[in-house]
């Protein structure tokens, strides 16, 4: 590989998260809501069409994508951070627009509210329900909108993570409904959804032990890395470990793994994920406080 040893295919450092923007209170009809944009800022550039073969070569190594044609020019999406590293290979190009490649999740929380159907209610505690859905346009190929095995699984693990942190016994015979809609996906949607969901729960005023901060870590192209992109997830040696942490106590409320690792690598992955989850927690707290700061500024 030609690329410098300490740079990932999108230009990030090994332990660097993608950019994360969180906003609390985005929906009017929900009791609590949040939107998370979690991804890479990119540039859409136009290059000479004769370079198509070269671009395809570069795309083997870097996280760049052909975005079609405009007139006679070829449009290519390149993460901002990798652009300086491949400028020499690209030759002359024009920046056409700014782009964003990553995950977007919007989460609405309704409740605590009356359990419907009545039999799901528990006389001792509030029941958390989590519905994870992906928009058909969230991935390159149209995703069939019906919830499949993957969605059911993600809904279940996220539900269990949130059930662990709410003071459910304060609202017997109620349900807390969490709806997570993925509008754009690029690896790590469950951690994006869960990060947004815990902000939305706090925004709904539901008593919680702490926020839940989720992040993925793993291995790609021989390195232990934080927050894998789709490109890295498809690496031949890829390991993806999404996890959700209670930042105050360092408890894990979600831990899954895809791929094979040695015990030592796993320890490194967990350690890295924990540190990064705490970074996410800081952003979540900031987002919640900003909602109230906004009100003052508007006056």
């Amino acid at each position: 590989m030609k690329m410098p040893n300490d740079i990932r295919p999108d230009g990030r450092k090994f332990d660097e998260l993608r950019s994360i923007e969180i906003e609390a209170g985005v929906l009017d009809q929900a009791d609590g809501s949040a939107r998370v944009k979690w991804g890479l800022h990119t540039k859409i550039i136009s290059v000479d069409p004769r370079k198509e073969a070269k671009i395809r070569n570069l795309a083997e190594e870097y996280y760049i994508t052909l975005r079609g044609k405009e007139g006679k020019k070829l449009l290519v999406e390149v993460p901002e951070k990798i652009l300086p590293h491949i400028e020499d290979d690209l030759g002359s190009y024009n920046v056409v627009a700014d782009g964003f490649k990553g995950n977007v999740a919007v989460v609405a929380v309704h409740g605590p509210r009356e359990p419907i159907p009545r039999h799901v209610g528990d006389p001792y505690r509030s029941v958390v329900r989590f519905r994870y859905t992906m928009a058909p346009f969230s991935v390159p190929e149209r995703k069939r909108p019906a919830p499949g095995r993957r969605e059911v699984e993600i809904s279940k693990v996220c539900k269990e993570a949130l059930q662990r942190i709410v003071f459910a016994e304060e609202f017997p015979m109620t349900v807390i409904d969490v709806f997570a809609e993925i509008l754009a996906a690029d690896a790590g949607t469950r951690v994006t959804a869960l990060t947004a969901a815990s902000v939305a729960l706090a925004d709904a005023g539901i008593p919680m032990r702490d926020l839940v901060s989720a992040v993925a870590a793993g291995r790609a192209f021989g390195h232990i890395v934080a927050d894998l992109t789709k490109f890295e997830e498809d690496a031949p040696d890829a390991v993806d470990v999404p996890m959700a942490v209670v930042p105050g106590t360092e408890e894990f409320v979600l831990l899954q793994m895809d791929g094979r690792v040695t015990k030592r690598e796993m320890d490194d992955i967990i350690e890295l994920g924990l540190a990064k989850a705490k970074e996410v927690a800081e952003l979540q707290r900031k987002a919640l406080k900003e909602k109230y700061a906004r009100v003052v500024e508007n006056e």
Binding site: R113, M173, T174, A202, D203, R209, L211, Q284, L288, V296
Partner: protein, 224 residues
């Protein structure tokens, strides 16, 4: 009165989110906090306060949970033989027995009542109900009701005096306004709701009401 409110508002109320440490000292636990590893930690988004040896978080969001003695504003949603089912803007239902209300009550009526009893799954029994006729009903976030009432009812007295409206505030976040400058009262209440987490609110509301009233009078004069 104004001085008194300023004095209680100023000292150390700050915004916290769930999981944030309120204090590491040993203090009594008020509402909205719990103990984790010997530290007092916030449960909800709200304003933290440590006063007189007690830590608490005043929530800024959340649903209404019925409490004995609360005065609530409800809407009749069902008429049964022994009484009425009442929507009290809560995850929990309320029941109003027929003998706890004077005169005829019908489906859709708005009532004000007191919570007499709350059972083990939080369903409420109401008493002392009376029907509210006419007026307007608005909703605010229930946890912000105390700010609309104010210390020793200072805020609500201010609103009533300046707008000349009859205002009835339910602990469940429903507010009934009748007569006087209804729209001004509504705007002021929504302003209080939006800015519930800020200090010096009474002064700003006084100014807001005075400004609007003087504007109104000016335009009246112009018309003449």
């Amino acid at each position: 009165m104004k001085m008194a409110e300023q004095a209680t508002e100023k000292p150390n109320r700050w915004l916290v989110v769930p999981g944030e440490v309120v204090t590491e000292e040993r203090v009594k636990l008020g509402p909205g906090v719990y103990v984790r590893d010997g530290k007092v930690v916030a449960k909800t988004v709200g304003l933290a306060e440590v006063k007189n040896g007690m830590a608490r978080v005043i929530p800024l969001e959340g649903k209404y949970v019925p409490k004995v003695g609360d005065s609530v504003i409800g809407i009749i949603v069902d008429v049964k033989i022994p009484g009425y089912d009442v929507d009290i803007n809560s995850p929990y239902t309320a029941f109003l027995p027929k003998d706890a209300v004077e005169g005829e009550v019908d489906y859709g009526d708005v009532i004000v009542a007191t919570v007499k009893y709350v059972d083990e799954v939080r369903n409420a029994l109401l008493e002392n109900a009376s029907v509210l006729k006419g007026g307007e009903l608005i909703h605010i976030i229930p946890s912000r009701v105390p700010r609309v009432i104010g210390k020793n009812a200072s805020m609500i007295t201010l609103l009533k005096n300046k707008t000349g409206a009859a205002i009835l505030v339910g602990a469940n976040g429903r507010i009934w306004i009748h007569g006087g400058r209804v729209n001004l009262a509504k705007e002021a209440i929504f302003k209080i709701e939006r800015e519930a987490h800020t200090s010096g609110l009474t002064d700003r509301i006084t100014k807001f009401l005075d400004d609007n009233i003087s504007q109104e009078e000016e335009s009246d004069e112009d018309a003449e």
